[in-house]
Symmetry: C2
Subunit: 282 residues, 2 copies
């Protein structure tokens, strides 16, 4: 039986009840529109925690003006049945006003980490992420929280938040789940037209090419970035946002590739913005 | 016996041990240089919590360039014996590097609440306060934390942080403790020369006058502010920073006094900045 919890007191009480039974708690924060990537987080949580709670909350604070907050896919019944099938113990699905009874005066700021890569074209996005994740971690004080490697910058920002603010929680990253042709699973893939969907494999192909270059000895990061840019810019309908080789933790740009790096790309297809990444060791 | 705890893991372990014994926990965060104001917080904590832990940590993040971080009074032996006399159960006294192993990339931002009043002349101060208090609340997950009404803006900012970020803790405010002549107790009073010390009573006298005006029917906030400014500016050696009548919670300026208000003043004497305030009902 999957419990559906809609208020903050009910969520906190659910956690206390599991604690009283001596269970460890795993939290899988989501914005719904679940796909195999989310379900892989849930399965990982079930392997390592006594109880698993998923949250389904579309956080308005992390959408900029003109972004897709209004049209972001919403189908809680479908999400709930997927989570029930995975035997999730509870789902936290609050109304927006439960989380934001009024606009927050105090927030968590992602600083420089939130201003590079996706942050450059989505100002304020990562402050919205850190603020809602801090709230979730307080409402549902879990032992572990599970995030996808697919959102590499979000993962770096949350890891840094946990370290810098001493949150008593362990962050677990799970590998990106891909379609058979390599496209990273994303709730936003549903926005793509059939033509865009077929051209969208360029993200994965550019990352693969970057990995080949690095693994076959290329040490010059700008050289790798230039190759990815060239590939993406020649794909029909693809509008390049960025193609970067950066430090995994600080997300700072690199000249020389002398350790494991994060290779990350963001590409716009029509109104749809897609991201993907790989961790690559030289 | 008062336990002295110097590391984050030891602090967290101490809390877990008290929890295992079923004790509620009260936290009294301080920067040391303890006076009767701090001790009143400790006594209040002892009345309401099963165990009391005080922290003594001078937070570099809340001092601006040119402020008194270097010369802030430090005498841990004296602080510890005062806390022992009050039968505090534990004192958390970490090194600076234990709290900030590196400069934090992610921080808590006080926003507009931190930019008015003292924030206007101390940019970044309240971000430093919210960041260190968030860290302390995670390191020492207490049931209640005790703060002095003397630092009214700090209190408003922390109350807002707890509400906006859903910290599972209750904030308790304790009344300002005053010297016999009305000067609010402050660790910074030690900086005052004998002449400055005697003139420093102007803060309390201006607040008293504001209270009299409001309680005898004055509803015009700028009128009350003008009277306080006039009194402070005529005191020898006093350099006015602000004298304001504001909303207790939002700290926003007011025209008409139609509910309980915060009357707050900040005055510089030589190198020493003093603050004081009163909550006044019309």
């Amino acid at each position: 039986m999957t419990a559906v919890v809609r208020t903050i007191p009910a969520a906190t009480e659910w956690v206390q009840r599991q604690r009283a039974e001596g269970k460890s708690i795993g939290l899988v924060p989501t914005m719904g529109a679940l796909h195999e990537g989310h379900l892989s987080l849930v399965r990982r949580a079930r392997q390592t925690c006594g109880r698993v709670i998923a949250s389904v909350f579309i956080n308005p604070l992390q959408f900029g003006p003109g972004e897709d907050y209004q049209r972001y896919p919403r189908d809680f019944d479908r999400d709930l049945s997927l989570l029930e099938r995975e035997q999730v113990d509870a789902v936290f699905h609050p109304e927006t006003a439960e989380i934001y009874p009024s606009p927050p005066l105090i927030s968590v700021c992602a600083g420089n980490l939130g201003e590079t890569l996706c942050g450059a074209s989505r100002p304020g996005h990562f402050n919205g992420v850190t603020t809602v994740v801090a709230k979730l971690f307080h409402i549902i004080p879990a032992d572990r929280a599970f995030f996808g490697q697919k959102d590499a910058q979000q993962l770096a920002v949350i890891r840094s938040m946990v370290r810098d603010l001493n949150f008593p929680i362990t962050i677990e990253a799970c590998p990106t789940v891909r379609e058979p042709d390599g496209l990273a699973m994303s709730s936003r893939n549903a926005y793509l037209s059939p033509g865009e969907r077929s051209n969208a494999t360029i993200l994965y192909r550019a990352l693969q090419r970057a990995r080949e270059m690095i693994q076959s000895g290329t040490r010059d990061a700008p050289n790798v970035e230039a190759k990815m840019r060239e590939m993406i810019q020649s794909a029909p309908g693809a509008e390049l946002d960025y193609a970067r080789v950066v430090d995994r933790d600080t997300l700072a740009g690199l000249r020389e590739i002398d350790k494991e790096v994060l290779v990350a790309v963001a590409v716009q297809f029509g109104k749809t913005r897609l991201i993907d990444n790989m961790i690559v060791a030289p």
